[in-house]
């Protein structure tokens, strides 16, 4: 021994290589396919809006930590991920000079990072998903700008893309018949929904790309099936039972509901946020079912065409309660009670 110091600490003396920042960056990476498809369909605007969110999230985190004299943790990737998720949840049309709305993503990022996350105590202590609060805040403050949906063009230079309603918007206002009409036929409707050739939030449209990312996360065990499966399953069942015309039960189209809106993005990437979902598996299933039920309640009965993000946020409120009531099963506990 050259030097005379050894480290003395409590066991265990070895640890896995996994780190928080590695998790954050990997989840960010898993959203890359969806991001690429978004830029393909919505052009540079999608890129600009997302980049703006990411940059302002990171800067918000930096300055608020500096102001609160905390350790600067922007390299852990969590601010990046929050910015990315917020960006993917916004309409690409925000990047336009007429009307002037590019301050909107910046304010959303500020709300997400500063108010939702840091003022609650920072990473790990926030109750609500920061990106979703950011988006809901923007919806409430700029309802018009937040619901101007560009048509997917796949033309990189088209800065004045036409606007149109989202499939769920059409479904809500004009019914399934009109929706099929817009897309030609049913098969084409599903195909376009799958690849993401439709209007909507930047990152929510390309189901295929999102599923690739989700499969990667599942394979890497960064997320487990519990929340997505119970969330999607509940949506499918409720859509089938109640989603039909008028009062006819069991005539709904579950597939249409699964493929549209922000469901896939929400179920795999937002509801599974570690900090704001229950941490015991049984609790997660309950959480997923709650998200699914609330989503369908809003979609079918509420004032908005889409309910995924409200559903997740509402269930975030229940997370502490779920965590307190649904505990893990302690080894050997049952026998003790009967004693």
């Amino acid at each position: 021994m050259k030097k005379n110091t050894v480290i003395v600490s409590v066991s265990p003396h070895i640890m896995s290589e996994e780190t928080v920042s590695h998790i954050m960056w990997t989840v960010s990476l898993s959203l890359f396919p969806a991001f690429v498809m978004a830029v393909y369909f919505f052009g540079p605007r999608a890129l600009f809006v997302t980049a703006l969110c990411i940059i302002s999230s990171i800067l918000s985190e930096y300055f608020v930590q500096k102001a609160m004299k905390k350790k600067i943790t922007i390299s852990d990737g969590s601010a990046f991920l929050t910015g990315l998720l917020l960006g993917l949840n916004l309409p690409a049309s925000l990047w336009s000079l007429n009307p002037f709305t590019i301050h909107v993503p910046i304010i959303g990022s500020f709300v997400a990072i500063v108010i939702t996350k840091q003022l609650f105590g920072g990473l790990g202590y926030n109750i609500f998903n920061p990106a979703l609060i950011g988006r809901v805040f923007l919806m409430a403050s700029w309802p018009r700008a937040m619901t101007i949906w560009n048509e997917p063009t796949a033309a990189f230079v088209a800065f004045d893309a036409k606007t149109t309603a989202t499939p769920l918007g059409i479904l809500k206002e004009e019914g399934i018949g009109r929706l099929i009409e817009v897309f030609g036929d049913k098969v084409n409707l599903y195909t376009q929904l799958l690849i993401g050739h439709r209007s909507g939030s930047i990152g929510e449209t390309s189901i295929i790309a999102l599923l690739i990312g989700a499969a990667f996360l599942l394979y890497k065990r960064y997320i487990t099936w519990h929340i997505p499966a119970s969330f999607l399953g509940t949506v499918a069942v409720l859509a089938w039972i109640f989603g039909g015309k008028g009062t006819c039960l069991f005539t709904g189209d579950p597939l249409l509901h699964l493929l549209s809106g922000g469901l896939i993005l929400g179920a795999f990437f937002m509801a599974t946020d570690y900090v704001t979902c229950p941490s015991v598996k049984t609790g997660q299933i309950l959480f997923g079912i709650g998200c699914g039920a609330l989503t369908m309640l809003i979609r079918l009965k509420g004032g908005y065409p889409e309910g995924v993000m409200f559903a997740i946020l509402l269930m975030n409120c229940f997370t502490p309660l779920i965590d307190r009531t649904i505990r893990s099963k302690v080894f050997g506990a049952i026998k003790v009670k009967t004693k």
Binding site: M1, K2, V6, I7, V8, S9, V10, S11, P12, H13, I14, M15, S16, E18, T19, V20, H22, I23, T73, D76, G122, L123, G124, Y125, Y274, V275, C277, S279, V280, K281, R327, S328, K329, V330, F331, G332, A333, I334, K335, V336, K339
Partner: protein, 437 residues
């Protein structure tokens, strides 16, 4: 057929390749030994020798201080040169006896029992007790206590623990390869003690040679039924409760003992010591340990005399590398980090592990809990280590009892897996030290 196992657990790299092919070698005789009078859980021994007295190898130097206690014997022949308080590997000061080795290796009179198979249960227990045997897996619980359950808890199953799930250690593995018959005989002694005729051996599936050797030794003994079970490779497979669950499907009640479900578990080294005690009347004065880790020049499996200083063993293994960061008594998951090498190896020390600096994790840089749930998934006791660590961190020690603080046996799986590198076991120990069960 799937391998037997339990729910939860982790897969740390096992690093057993450093020593698994190194036959057990006898360590060089120490010049002096420092033998603590408290090497076990329970009452310390009362010294029965004084300074200046000559002792023989195997002579009792400390008599049991109560029912839960174990006699201590001299591991060398020579002269008692000091008595007093010396630090043990857990960092506590314990009364010890220092003996200078005269190098003559003169044994005290031992009672050989070639026909030990005909001894009664009580006679066998008497011999095990006289030999001062304790659990050699690390906990060092007096074996005689385990073998004397109250009447209302009949034992119907004996399991030999060959899991050796701690990374790096290869003590039990080498013993199973080199002494399979003796271990099987030891198991038979245990079965005789309880008057049962079915025994089990559980071995992790990453030790196929051990499974083979033990299987072969078993087949050569047709008189009793012994089943060798291959277990899934997963830490902490060798924890008693997990092993019992894997092999018998029985779940030891929370805060209960294996005897509550009619099971007694002994690890391989202990079983071997039991055999030697019963067959040759040999007290527990030596044991096999693994001296290993990337920080020591030559890793070895050594048969050492209890009381040998760790510094001497390190020297025998070529000394430390320049980059030494941490020295651990025991395995990397549950062992104790040492502050000095001038401490004796005791009955419960199964290994000396030297980790180089770049393998040492600086846990003072831990982050907040991101509630990822990984610790909950891996906790073999089904606890919520995240909550335990948060409660303790915030000072709500009593509150952590709500989350079954005292069911934690500090296996370290939670802290191993935590991406935030939270020192969960440290938080748990802190809460335990400030509350009562």
């Amino acid at each position: 057929m799937g391998l037997l196992t339990f729910k939860g657990g982790i897969h740390p790299p096992d690093r057993k390749e450093l020593t698994k092919d190194k036959p057990i070698a006898e360590a060089r005789p120490p010049r002096t030994v420092a033998i603590p009078l408290s090497q076990h859980i329970g009452a310390p021994c009362k010294p029965v020798v004084t300074i200046g007295q000559d002792v023989k190898k195997g002579e009792m130097i400390g008599e049991p201080g109560g029912f839960v206690s174990a006699a201590v014997h001299s591991s060398v022949s020579g002269k008692v040169i000091a008595t007093g308080e010396f630090p043990n590997v857990m960092g506590r000061m314990v009364p010890s006896i220092v003996i200078e080795n005269d190098g003559k290796e003169e044994w005290t009179i031992l009672k050989d029992n070639p026909d030990y198979a005909n001894l009664s249960s009580d006679e066998l227990k008497e011999k095990i007790k006289a030999a001062g045997i304790v659990g050699l897996g690390g906990a060092a619980f007096p074996t005689i206590v385990k073998l004397s359950p109250p009447k209302e808890k009949p034992i119907d199953t004996v399991i030999i623990n060959g899991a050796e799930c701690e990374p790096y250690l290869t003590v039990d593995y080498r013993l199973m390869l080199e002494k399979p018959h003796e271990i099987i005989e030891g198991l038979k002694v245990l079965m005789k003690v309880f008057g049962i005729n079915k025994g089990f051996v559980g071995i992790e599936n990453n030790k196929p040679e051990a499974i083979k050797a033990m299987g072969k030794a078993t087949r050569e003994r047709q008189d009793v039924e012994i089943v060798i079970h291959a277990l899934e490779v997963k830490y902490p497979q060798g924890a008693e409760k997990m092993l019992i669950k894997a092999i018998t499907g029985r779940e030891v009640p929370a805060r209960g003992l294996p005897m509550d479900v009619g099971v007694v578990v002994q690890n391989v080294s202990t079983t071997f010591a039991i055999y030697e005690a019963v067959r040759y009347g040999k007290p527990l004065i030596d044991r096999v340990i693994t001296v290993t880790g990337e920080g020591v020049r030559e890793s070895k499996n050594l048969l050492i005399k209890i009381g040998t200083l760790i510094s001497q063993l390190i020297e025998e293994c070529g000394g430390l590398q320049d980059s030494t960061g941490k020295i651990i008594a025991g395995g990397p998951m549950m062992g104790f980090a040492l502050s000095s090498l001038d401490m004796p190896v005791t009955k419960g020390t199964s290994g000396i592990l030297v980790l180089p600096e770049d393998k040492v994790i600086h846990t003072e840089e831990f982050g907040p809990c991101i509630r990822c749930g990984r610790c909950i998934d891996v906790c073999p006791m089904g606890l919520m280590p995240s909550m335990l660590s948060i409660y303790s961190e915030k000072g709500f020690y009593e509150g952590s009892k709500e989350y079954n603080l005292w069911d934690c046996f500090e296996c370290g799986s939670c802290a191993y897996i935590c991406p935030s590198k939270r020192p969960i076991v440290q938080f748990i120990r802190l809460a335990k030290s400030l509350t009562k069960p």
